[in-house]
């Protein structure tokens, strides 16, 4: 089965979401800058969001006649709101960390290690 030869369906969106997700995960795993890690998180969240949108879209579902098609979008909106809140909290933590250590290197934040 060749994706490129198929009409656009859920699978295509899932591929994009997976790519975004993996990019975000790699970004989180490799970036030492806290802000970079934050960006990686956004990528991961958005990868997941694309999946929600795809699964919730009327155009991509076979049972679309039964659905009003807003559930996926609503969850995506929740995720965005949560991401915003999380970003605000994380920024606050990061700024405090910077104030205390003069850096935003996450590898330096190991004072609580066992």
């Amino acid at each position: 089965m060749n994706l490129l030869a198929q009409p656009v369906g859920v699978a295509h969106y899932m591929v994009v979401g997976a790519v975004l997700f993996v990019c975000g995960a790699i970004c989180m795993a490799t970036k030492r800058n806290a802000l970079g890690v934050l960006m990686g998180i956004e990528l991961v969240l958005n990868g997941a969001n694309i999946n929600f949108i795809a699964f919730g879209s009327q155009f991509l579902r076979k049972d679309s006649q039964w659905s009003i098609g807003l559930d996926g979008q609503l969850i995506a909106l929740f995720v965005i709101v949560l991401a915003a809140a999380e970003a605000a909290v994380t920024l606050a933590i990061t700024l405090n960390f910077y104030n205390n250590h003069g850096t935003v290197d996450v590898d330096r934040a190991d004072e609580l290690k066992g």
Partner: protein
């Protein structure tokens, strides 16, 4: 004022005042004045207040119940004078009877002076006037009622006045005598281990505290309205004497004497309790007097009227309860015969009808004798009668004011008082026992007193001897004579003791052999003591007048003579009384001559001697006045005692069961000229002979006492060692008890202790094993688990690196791993 309500209030308050003083000194003694000197004022104030109340009561009593002159034997019979105030009927009866008079108008109306066996119908006597009632009921269950009550008759009132008066004098005297205790005391009689003498703080307030409690106890004993209350105060008096005799408790001799007094009294009290149980078990009440309701009806009968019921002319009668408890088998037999339910009433009526027969057959009489002997046992202990007399001389270890109080007014008088109070309970057999015990006591004690050299011990044995006189008098039916002697003796014995205290205070020794010639140095003490000596030997001009002892001793000897005339078998009682009078005169004047007359035998002591301060000699003078004159018929002391004479004792008594021949002659018969005149002459003669003998030895020194002593060496040693009573008791009681105690201790040590030790060792072994199990297995398991947990924690610790990127890697890798695992192993059946 209404006497029946006023008397209990007045006398009750008089009784409680010393208790109040005791409490005040107990709590605030240290803060009362400098070194607690104020304590003496509190105590003296309380007892003087009590005396004031007693004196008011006495006046009230005499006002209500006028004292009527009893004509004293020896003189003419003043029938005319007596008839002046008598109702005509009574006067005629009196004239018919041609005998003695009595005191109370009530009594007179019923008086019979006819000898027993007379053909005339026996006239009735009356119970003595008394007020009795309850202040407080402790508890009441069925017919059992225990109360705090009072029984006030002429004897109570007179005792109150006497006790409080003497106690007041002694309190005042003690302020002077005990002044050493106001500051620190060095007790030269107590040597410590380091060779120094004991140095201790003074105990002035404590002395007065005990003294107050003592007075409270004695007054409570006198006023008590039932046997239970009497017993409580009886024991309180005992414990107070224990405290006071052991006042110098650091001295071995004093603490020994206190213990001895206490233990010997326990022996007597054991008998007392048996007597109480016998009495209470049989008749079911402790009350002395009848309980009367507002209307004057008798609700419950007291001991006295149960034993001497008015229906039987106040003759000693066995109460039904005593007969029944003794005839238990017969009662059970009758009940068995009527075993069916309906027969119970029949059985009851048959039992009731049988009671007179049983009584006639002597059922219960033994119980009554046991009750009487038991109660007398207690009195033997308290009044130091043979064979329990050994404690009293040792009690001299206490301070002298205590001796004066104990010996005259309070503790030892309690026994005689109580015999007098319980007189209606005693059968003739018991009375005879009392008489013999008194007789033996007076003889033994008098002989010992003749050789004693410790001034206080002479007086102590003299007390024992005089108490013997009182017991003897009571035992031969001389109720008034015995108690009269109690009163006069109280005054002169307290006087004598306080004089001896004054001498000791001046000389710092008790040994008469070191004294002599002190009369010039201590005139007050010497002359007041002379008054006391004259009073105790019964000095008087026969048939005219004399010191107080003359009257009381004469009446005892007259009664003894009267008794002997009726019972020639028992003439020893009279001989002892008469001989005792001679010995009394001898040892008293031996004491006085040795102390006050002749040349000083120890110049160190003589030079040091001085008259005591006024606070000490003033009470002596007062008491000397009383010792001189309290017995005079003028004051009517005997008339007052007559008012309290127990019902049923006016007439001559016969009919004892065990010794049927004993006759207890009426006390009035001893007032007859035929008896009183010889008795007076004999008493005078014996006293004079004793006095002359003492004078020959010690005043004129015609004979050398030392030579006589050598001549009768063995006798002297025997008396010197107090008839070896202490040694005897040591041999027959103390040593066996020690022997048994040692055996018991051995058993305890070698058997019981062994067993217990064995048990302990076994338990210890077991617990060692248990301990090992606990430590090795239980603790080991727990510790092992803890170590595991610890190392696991250590191991997991390194997982928390704090590296964010690593965590993300773990998450991703973990997710992939889960995904792979699920892809390989997921089974759709699991979702179903």
């Amino acid at each position: 004022m209404n006497l029946p309500t006023a008397l209990p209030t007045l006398l009750g308050t008089a009784c409680l005042l010393p208790l109040l003083s005791f409490v005040v000194i107990l709590f605030f003694g240290k803060y009362l004045g400098k070194h607690g000197k104020g304590a003496s004022y509190v105590a003296a104030g309380a007892i003087i207040g009590a005396f004031a109340l007693s004196a008011i009561s006495l006046c009230g009593w005499v006002g209500q119940h006028p004292l009527v002159a009893v004509h004293h034997g020896g003189g003419a019979h003043h029938a005319d004078a007596e008839q002046a105030w008598l109702p005509a009927v009574v006067a005629t009866k009196l004239a018919d009877a041609n005998a003695c008079s009595t005191s109370s108008p009530i009594r007179l109306a019923n008086l019979s002076s006819e000898p027993a066996g007379s053909e005339h119908a026996a006239p009735q006597e009356a119970a003595p006037v008394n007020y009795n009632g309850d202040w407080y009921t402790l508890f009441e269950v069925g017919s059992l009622k225990l109360t705090i009550g009072y029984y006030i008759d002429a004897l109570t009132v007179a005792m109150f006045a006497m006790v409080t008066l003497i106690a007041s004098c002694i309190h005042i005297y003690a302020i002077g005598y005990m002044h050493d205790e106001l500051h620190d005391v060095t007790d030269h009689e107590v040597a410590l281990a380091d060779g120094h003498h004991l140095h201790r703080p003074g105990r002035f307030p404590r002395f007065f505290q005990y003294l107050s409690l003592f007075c409270f106890s004695m007054l409570g004993l006198v006023i008590s309205g039932n046997l239970l209350m009497t017993f409580v105060f009886w024991e309180l008096v005992g414990i107070c004497s224990y405290f006071l005799i052991g006042f110098y408790f650091e001295r071995k001799s004093a603490s020994n004497a206190a213990n001895k007094a206490f233990i010997v009294n326990r022996v007597g009290d054991f008998g007392f309790i048996i007597g109480l149980m016998a009495l209470f078990g049989a008749i079911g009440t402790f009350q002395f007097g009848d309980t009367v309701d507002d209307g004057g009806n008798t609700i419950a009968r007291g001991i006295f009227s149960q034993l001497r019921p008015p229906e039987n002319d106040y003759k000693l009668t066995l109460p039904d309860g005593m007969v029944l408890s003794s005839a238990g088998e017969q009662v059970a037999g009758i009940v068995n015969d009527h075993a069916d339910m309906g027969g119970l009433t029949a059985a009851k009526s048959q039992i009731e009808s049988q009671i007179p027969d049983w009584r006639k057959n002597g059922f219960g009489y033994g119980l009554l004798i046991v009750a009487g002997l038991g109660i007398f046992c207690g009195c033997v202990g308290k009044s130091a009668q043979f064979p329990l007399h050994v404690w009293l001389p040792d009690a001299m270890e206490g301070p002298t004011p205590v001796s004066a109080l104990v010996h005259s007014a309070t503790m030892v008088a309690a026994g005689v008082f109580f015999v007098g109070r319980c007189f209606p309970i005693f059968t003739q057999e018991v009375l005879l026992v009392i008489a013999y015990i008194g007789c033996i006591t007076l003889f033994i004690a008098a002989t010992i007193a003749m050789v004693a050299v410790d001034i206080k011990r002479v007086l102590a044995y003299s007390t024992v001897s005089q108490l013997g006189y009182m017991m003897l008098a009571l035992g031969i039916g001389g109720w008034v004579a015995g108690l009269f002697h109690l009163f006069t003796h109280a005054f002169f014995k307290s006087l004598l003791f306080m004089c001896s205290g004054s001498v000791i205070h001046a000389c710092h020794t008790n040994d008469m052999r070191k004294m002599g010639g002190l009369l010039k140095k201590m005139p007050y003490t010497g002359y007041t003591m002379l008054v006391g000596c004259l009073a105790i030997i019964g000095t008087g001009i026969p048939f005219v007048a004399g010191f107080s002892g003359y009257y009381s001793k004469d009446s005892i000897i007259a009664q003894a003579l009267s008794f002997t005339n009726q019972n020639p078998v028992h003439r020893i009682l009279f001989l002892a009384a008469a001989g005792g009078a001679s010995m009394t005169a001898f040892y008293m004047f031996r004491l006085w001559f040795l102390t006050f007359i002749g040349k000083p035998r120890d110049h160190h002591v003589y030079d040091h001697a001085h008259e005591s301060p006024p606070v000490m000699w003033a009470p002596l003078v007062l008491l000397a006045a009383f010792a001189f004159g309290i017995g005079w018929p003028l004051w009517g002391l005997t008339n007052m005692l007559e008012q309290a004479r127990p019902a049923g004792t006016i007439e001559t008594v016969t009919g004892a069961v065990v010794w049927p021949n004993v006759v207890h002659p009426s006390e009035y018969l001893s007032h007859e000229e035929a008896i009183h005149v010889p008795a007076s002459l004999i008493a005078f003669g014996t006293a004079l002979s004793g006095f002359l003998l003492a004078a020959v030895f010690y005043a004129w020194q015609w004979l050398n006492p030392a030579e006589v002593q050598q001549q009768f060496g063995k006798l002297h040693t025997f008396l010197w060692n107090k008839w070896y009573f202490d040694e005897l008791y040591n041999a027959i009681i103390v040593q066996p008890v020690h022997f048994v105690a040692r055996r018991v201790a051995d058993f305890d040590k070698h058997v019981i202790d062994r067993f217990i030790d064995g048990c302990a060792t076994a338990v210890r072994g077991l617990s060692t094993i248990d301990d090992a199990i606990d430590r090795l297995i239980v603790d080991g398991a727990v510790n092992l688990f803890a170590r595991w947990m610890h190392s696991a924690g250590i191991a997991f610790r390194s997982l928390q690196t704090g590296s964010l990127r690593q965590y993300v890697m773990f998450i991703v890798v973990g997710m992939v791993a889960i995904f792979v695992l699920v892809s390989f192993f997921w089974n759709y059946a699991w979702a179903m």
